[in-house]
């Protein structure tokens, strides 16, 4: 592993963010390609470790990964600068697009395009919820608590962050089947 200059990695991060469509999960593969394969700045295991930590914390996954990669390679200054690199290209892209929408947003074709795209977005969110539950939700009791949480929040209009924290509290205190299963595996 050779130690690269911060400026160079900053430019790499800007480039990745400027061409990474589809959000964080579109950006991470590009980061891996650049950092691990092409430039050999990080080892595969270091990079996956950074992603794993980034995923366990709140916030956009691409931002969190940049912070961990920056810390690992250059310390706190690196974390700030690399995050800046990831944020700046979309920032200006969105400002330009907002401007274009102001001019052309009323066209019939554009409005119909958005009608179709809206449905795709809803589908993507539902699919994400399905994948997230498949990956993380492994016991019935948590599933029941989540279901009750969604119903109560929907009908009682509880603030979402409050609902999130209350649900987390109940999932934490209710004993998990998963724990029992993992003990059983250990015993074998």
């Amino acid at each position: 592993m050779e130690k690269p200059s911060l400026i160079k990695v900053f430019l790499i991060f800007m480039k990745i963010s400027a061409i990474g469509f589809g959000g964080g999960y579109g950006i991470l593969p590009l980061m891996r390609e650049e950092l691990v394969e092409k430039r050999k700045i990080m080892s595969t295991s270091d990079f996956y470790h950074a992603i794993a930590q980034a995923q366990s914390l709140p916030g956009p996954i691409a931002v969190n990964t940049s912070i961990f990669v920056g810390l690992k390679l250059f310390g706190i200054l690196g974390a700030v600068i690399l995050t800046f690199g990831v944020v700046v290209p979309p920032f200006f892209a969105i400002l330009i697009i907002a401007n274009l929408i102001d001019r052309f947003g009323n066209l019939e074709v554009f409005r119909n395009f958005l009608k179709g795209a809206r449905i795709a977005i809803v589908v993507i969110i539902i699919d994400f919820a399905v994948r997230l539950s498949r990956r993380n939700l492994r016991d019935i009791s948590s599933a029941v608590i989540i279901f009750i949480g969604v119903l109560l929040t929907f009908f009682l209009k509880i603030p979402v962050i409050l609902a999130f924290l209350i649900t987390a509290f109940f999932i934490y205190i209710v004993p998990h089947k998963k724990d029992i299963k993992s003990i059983r595996i250990d015993e074998k």
Partner: protein
């Protein structure tokens, strides 16, 4: 430039970033509640349009959404404060996490707390899914459209970018039927 609005944008997005477990989509569910339900800065349809645009624009979706909402509400400075607001909590969390890791990992199981929060984020995400479905799927054609898109995504795993583009073109063809 209205300082009160700028501060309220910053505070909202800081809160969103701070509780956005589960990455960008966790953030979106929080943004939906804060922007559509609490502050009523935009309606559900405008919010979905913003997500379509974010998905078609490079960069992290939560950042795109923050920049766009900030820009719509209070111009370039609004975009700036909303974006900084949503990014800053990540730093707080990472630094806190590294501190906690040294202090607490011997005494308590921090990974179980994070695991729990990652499950609980399903509540905001499912709610966003339900609320946004109700406001965008209004007739049987839209429902069939959605079901087909869902099956394609489930079984073919095409890039989300292309799903949005293709659905957009389908929207142009189906036009007034949706």
């Amino acid at each position: 430039m209205n300082l009160k609005i700028l501060f309220s944008l910053f505070a909202s997005f800081f809160k969103i970033g701070f509780f956005a477990f589960g990455g960008g989509y966790g953030a979106l569910s929080m943004i939906q509640d804060e922007v559509v339900n609490v502050h009523k800065w935009m309606n559900a349809q405008q919010f979905l349009d913003l997500l379509s645009i974010s998905q078609m624009t490079p960069g992290p979706i939560a950042i795109n959404a923050a920049t766009y909402i900030g820009c719509r509400i209070s111009g370039v400075w609004g975009a700036f404060f909303a974006t900084v607001g949503v990014v800053l909590p990540s730093f707080v969390w990472v630094l806190l996490f590294l501190k906690l890791l040294n202090l607490a990992s011997k005494k308590m199981d921090t990974s179980r707390i994070f695991d729990t929060l990652k499950i609980a984020i399903l509540v905001p995400i499912s709610l966003a899914g339900v609320n946004l479905s109700l406001s965008s799927v209004k007739n049987i054609i839209a429902l069939i459209f959605g079901a087909v898109a869902f099956l394609i995504l489930r079984f073919k795993r095409i890039p989300l970018f292309w799903l949005v583009i293709i659905s957009g073109f389908a929207g142009i063809i189906l036009g007034k039927y949706l």
